[in-house]
């Protein structure tokens, strides 16, 4: 049963994307198809998570070829957990986008949006489920090609300028990835991750170190770690807000997942890389948040907080302990939900105010009190105010850092606390600029012919409901924090004993 379900999170969206192109003229059918597909993926991911947690990792060898030759799909606790969260987020953002599209009527050119969105979903699922390094490359490409189209959806000058940076940087990362795969194949003769993990144990130390660092750079570009992040705040804010929301929540986290998976499975106990990771974590947290402090545009400000908070996940990984990894996994789940919410709400604010500039907004709490609540909850959660999910995730990481007790770990703890306070300052500054003060005049839509309708008091119910649903999802993380941390700890336990993964794939 599980073996049948395992490939479906990849196959279903791809099939639906094909049909979606066929039905390009029937927008209502397209919408129904996308929503039904993503609902199915959420359900399947839930079943996979339940099975992975109770019966251990599920493995399917595609095409019936045994592990080192064929391509393996693996759903262990980490993969399945991230799959559930990402599928739920993809569904909510889709509803938000549909709400926006329906409300704005026939002016929207959404025919290409639905197929690309489904291909993006398939790529993300594939990246989480694959157990093969080359297949991971293909998954990244599937995901990225869809994202190239989505980020340049309007084809305006601004989108092309930002999209160019994004595509060139991503393509360069892909070239590096092919290089890394070539070197791994030359060293081990395999691209199956479980098989490579066994064979790399016998490789010389220098070779292991070089391969580990090249893969770190490759995935570091996708995850936007210091100093490879400068493409992100430039390219994300120009896309339509649902697209930015899903990119912010998921694409960088796929990079983080790839770092977690490869470093723990292929290069365990590599003290050198762990130290490098801790230093990078500190720099990513601090530099990212300092960038956020000086921004005037809400979307750019939030983009810098993405970069900054990637540092927390690296911090957990750099500790190389079960507790650190558990904190990193919980933090990833929290951050996917909260960062997506913030971008969705930023979209609602921009729609209402006609601008996302802090200087030109004000007094929104008098006009739209519900919007103020929707912004405040995830913003405080991002900063780590108890009892919201950000506080719990940070608490896990800080405790793991203090338990470690090393000099670098303590420095990272200090940096994490400072970043947390500065995040509160950054989101608080945006809060006071947008919601407090006198009510300012709405900025008129500077480009009324494009897809994006701004400066209107008419907020579609579906958009607000989808944003509220993700906010509620963020609050739910607090409610189920105990079981969720337990699950993260079990997933982290799997990561620190890579033998289990190898045993599951190579019986």
């Amino acid at each position: 049963m599980i073996r049948v379900l395992l490939p479906l999170p990849i196959v279903l969206p791809l099939l639906a994307a094909g049909f979606s192109v066929v039905f390009a003229r029937y927008q209502r059918l397209q919408r129904l198809l996308s929503i039904a597909t993503l609902v199915a993926v959420v359900v399947i991911a839930g079943i996979l998570l339940h099975s992975a947690d109770s019966d251990g990792a599920a493995v399917v060898q595609l095409g019936g070829w045994a592990a080192p030759v064929g391509i393996s799909l693996v759903a262990d606790r980490l993969s399945a957990l991230l799959l559930v969260v990402s599928a739920a987020v993809l569904l909510s953002v889709l509803l938000y986008a549909v709400g926006q599209g329906v409300a704005d009527g026939r002016r929207s050119r959404v025919a290409v949006f639905h197929p690309c969105y489904l291909v993006l979903a398939a790529g993300i699922s594939m990246a989480f489920l694959t157990g093969d390094l080359f297949n991971l490359f293909v998954a990244f490409e599937v995901m990225l090609v869809a994202s190239y189209v989505l980020i340049t959806l309007d084809g305006g000058a601004e989108q092309i300028r930002a999209g160019m940076t994004y595509v060139v940087v991503s393509l360069l990362a892909s070239v590096l990835f092919v290089t890394a795969i070539g070197l791994v194949y030359a060293a081990t003769g395999t691209v199956n991750m479980a098989d490579a993990a066994v064979r790399l144990e016998d490789a010389p130390d220098g070779v292991r170190l070089v391969l580990g660092l090249i893969l770190l750079v490759v995935f570091g570009i996708k995850a936007a770690i210091f100093p490879l992040f400068s493409w992100l705040p430039d390219s994300y804010p120009t896309a339509p807000s649902p697209v930015t929301a899903v990119f912010a929540g998921l694409l960088t986290k796929v990079g983080v997942y790839a770092i977690l998976r490869t470093q723990t499975l292929l290069f365990p106990d590599e003290q050198m890389i762990s130290n490098v990771l801790l230093v990078i974590a500190i720099l990513t947290m601090v530099v990212g948040i300092l960038g956020a402090l000086v921004q005037d545009d809400l979307k750019r400000l939030l983009s810098f907080t993405i970069v900054s908070h990637i540092g927390y996940m690296l911090f957990g990984l750099g500790l190389a302990s079960g507790a650190g990894l558990a904190g990193a996994i919980l933090y990833t789940v929290h951050h996917i939900v909260v960062q997506t919410t913030l971008f969705l709400v930023a979209g609602l604010i921009e729609r209402r105010e006609g601008t996302s500039s802090l200087a030109r907004s004000g007094g929104l709490q008098h006009v739209a009190p519900l919007l103020a609540v929707l912004y405040l909850l995830p913003a405080l959660s991002l900063a780590g105010i108890p009892p919201l999910s950000g506080f719990l995730a940070k608490l896990g990481l800080l405790q793991a850092g203090l338990d470690d007790g090393g000099g670098l770990a303590l420095a990272a703890v200090a940096a994490a606390i400072a970043t947390s306070l500065l995040t509160l300052y950054a989101v608080g500054r945006a809060w006071s600029a947008i919601f407090w003060g006198p009510v300012v005049e709405v900025v008129p839509d500077d480009n009324p012919s494009d897809r994006l309708v701004v400066g209107t008091a008419r907020t579609p119910r579906l958009m607000a409901a989808a944003a509220a649903a993700v906010v509620a999802g963020g609050l739910a993380i607090t409610v189920i924090a105990g079981p969720l941390y337990g699950l993260s700890a079990r997933a982290a336990d799997d990561l620190v004993t890579p033998d289990r993964y190898v045993q599951a794939v190579l019986p």
């Binding site: 190239y148 000058a157 092309i160 300028r161 060139v168 393509l171 290089t179 194949y185 691209v191």
Partner: protein
């Protein structure tokens, strides 16, 4: 595993030239640079399969002796996939470069918005400093 020195040197040259072109300001050069870089990476992946041998599945006699004097088919399959992917993305990149040319009238990479803003602020700061000194 034995390598091929000529190919290794060629891969090095492709990476070097590709990186140089990628650092230029003209979009067409960047596209060509990325093409050369990906050729280099594909050749590297092909090299990782070891020296060329007989085609693995040509005659019945070869099947049982795979790995002895036959070529490794896996890197070849992977390189084919990588080539197709690069082809598609390069086509998209060219379309974007064309769109950029239509919109702006030249194919230079545009200045970064934030950098431009910072650069515009600089003379003001310098100006204030001068005033303070006076």
């Amino acid at each position: 595993m034995t390598g091929n020195l000529t190919l290794a040197l060629l891969i090095g040259v492709l990476y070097t030239v590709g990186t140089y072109l990628l650092l230029q300001r003209t979009l067409t050069r960047i596209v060509i640079g990325l093409g050369l870089l990906s050729h280099g990476a594909n050749l590297l992946l092909l090299q990782a399969g070891g020296p060329p041998g007989l085609a693995p599945f040509t005659s019945k006699g070869n099947v049982g002796t795979a790995g002895v004097d036959t070529a490794d088919p896996l890197p070849q399959a992977m390189v084919l996939t990588a080539i197709v992917i690069t082809f598609g993305v390069t086509a998209f990149l060219l379309a974007m470069a064309y769109r950029s040319w239509v919109l702006t009238g030249d194919d230079e990479v545009q200045d970064d918005v934030e950098d431009t803003r910072v650069a515009k602020m600089r003379p003001e700061i310098a100006h204030h400093d001068v005033e303070d000194e006076l």
